[in-house]
């Protein structure tokens, strides 16, 4: 009996809160509209950070990915250590190591923007490296053999034959890496860089309406990730139709 009573109470509470939510939706929209310029400012920085991190990560990752397949053992282990270390430790820790830990060693502060870009690109580079490695390995061995048999050096073979084909194939996973980095970039809010997440924190610590603002922020992230994954799927389809 007591249980039924309890359930009944819960039900009425739920209906009442739903009611207030419906009313709240309007006030939520009004509230968020007012905060939108601030949030969009943060969104812009988030996009900027992600784009820079993935671009630099792409450069780092290309070298690390090639290094992972190097014939020289030293280079191979160097690349493996880098990739394992970055992928095996939390990004939050990496960000704090660059922002808080590094100053202790080099004896000067690191600006938040620099720390954010550095830690995010180094992190992205490790993931891109594995994508690049898989892309290179997916290219038929005969391609490299044909190039070498024509007298091309291993560097020329990589540059003119293997990488151009590998890059075309890894566009979809690179898109996914971009999405992952977009979401993970929210972690740099801990070093007070005013990207989207940090802007949200600033707003709700002042207004004390965390649900409203966090819900809005989720929707912004969702819009961004969904549109990027659409783009990735589109490019994937185009590549399938035209494998050149």
């Amino acid at each position: 009996m007591a249980i039924i009573n309890e359930l009944f109470n819960l039900g009425t509470q739920l209906i009442m809160s739903l009611q207030s939510m419906a009313i709240g939706l309007y006030t939520w929209l009004l509230y968020v509209w007012g905060k939108l310029p601030l949030l969009l400012e943060g969104t812009l920085l988030t996009l900027e950070l992600t784009a820079i991190a993935v671009s630099l990560g792409f450069i780092i990752g290309t070298f690390a990915g090639i290094g992972r397949l190097s014939e020289k053992r030293f280079i191979r282990s160097l690349a493996t250590i880098y990739i394992d270390f970055i992928r095996g430790t939390p990004l939050l820790v990496q960000i704090l190591i660059v922002y808080m830990g590094l100053p202790q060693i080099i004896g000067r502060t690191v600006p938040p923007m620099v720390a954010a870009i550095a830690s995010l690109s180094i992190n992205s580079g490790a993931y891109v490296a594995e994508i690049v490695r898989a892309g290179i390995q997916s290219i038929d061995k005969g391609q490299a053999e044909a190039a070498r048999s024509l007298g091309m050096t291993s560097n020329q073979t990589m540059r003119y034959i293997v990488l151009p084909q590998a890059f075309r194939r890894i566009i979809p996973p690179l898109g996914n890496e971009f999405i992952a980095m977009l979401k993970d970039s929210s972690l740099v809010s801990v070093i007070a860089l005013e990207e989207l997440m940090r802007k949200a924190q600033l707003v709700y610590t002042r207004d004390y309406r965390p649900f409203d603002i966090l819900f809005a922020v989720s929707i912004i992230y969702l819009i961004l990730t969904l549109s990027i994954s659409r783009l990735v799927r589109y490019s994937e389809r185009r590549l399938r139709n035209n494998d050149r």
Binding site: D140, Q143, S149, L150, G151, M152, Q165, R244
Partner: protein, 250 residues
């Protein structure tokens, strides 16, 4: 088949060439000499080491023991510049291995431009001349996936010839082709042989071996069991294993 000039010069010489993959002995001591302008066909059952032997000649496979002399130069020594050696030895693969992201013309001109530093203009002139020679001059702007197997292989031959090699290595060049396309590739190879190109051909095309080659090597179990003129190999082989192999394939 052979021309008049320095046909006694030995271009390729191997001495006790061995190749192991871990415990598996693929080549068990191959010693052979190939002279300038000679056309040598290598026949034998699959797994006999024919392709491995051919791939050792331009060091796509690293021999485990023995030596390979190309024009008298020991190529297995670490001082040998393997890239310039390969630039002088064309290779044609079973699976063509054309570069799919490049047009036919770029496939052919890439290595001359990058390796021999030939100008764009003269490498393209050369490419068009070679495409004409293999009967594909209208395909210069095509991409490999627009070509048939036989056309791909002819482009691959033109690509190898663009480096003006002294030797051409063919690794089962017709094995991946539909039967009706084998002829067009063999015709190109034939005309190359008649022009005096030094050729080593791993093949299952016994008709080609019989008609075109100066010598036929029969390989089995990682050894050369018979090295003879095609007339002898195909009519009256000395080794009983050659005899039983040919009885199965002819």
């Amino acid at each position: 088949m052979t021309g008049e000039t320095n046909t006694n010069e030995i271009v390729i010489e191997t001495l006790n060439l061995e190749k192991n993959y871990d415990d598996l002995k693929v080549l068990k001591g191959i010693s052979v000499q190939i002279k300038r302008q000679e056309v040598v066909c290598i026949i034998g059952p699959s797994g006999s080491g024919k392709s491995t032997f051919l791939r050792c000649l331009n060091l796509l496979e690293k021999p485990t023991a023995g030596s390979i002399l190309i024009e008298g130069q020991e190529i297995t020594s670490p001082h040998c510049n393997i890239d310039s050696l390969r630039a002088n030895m064309g290779m044609v693969f079973q699976n063509f291995n054309l570069f799919p992201h490049m047009s036919v013309l770029d496939n052919i001109t890439l290595a001359p431009q990058r390796v021999k530093k030939v100008t764009k203009q003269s490498s393209e002139d050369m490419a068009l001349m070679l495409l004409n020679k293999v009967g594909l001059k209208d395909k210069a702007k095509s991409f490999p996936d627009e070509l048939s197997g036989g056309q791909k292989q002819r482009v691959a031959i033109a690509r190898a010839l663009a480096m003006q090699p002294k030797v051409m290595l063919f690794d089962e060049p017709t094995s991946a082709l539909d039967p009706e396309m084998i002829g067009e590739v063999l015709d190109v190879m034939k005309s190359l042989a008649y022009e005096g190109m030094t050729m080593v051909v791993v093949t299952h095309e016994m008709g080609f071996a019989r008609e075109v080659s100066d010598r036929v090597l029969f390989m089995d179990g990682g050894l050369i069991l018979e090295d003879n003129k095609p007339e002898v190999i195909f009519t009256n082989p000395e080794n009983p294993r050659t005899k039983s192999f040919l009885r199965k394939v002819l």
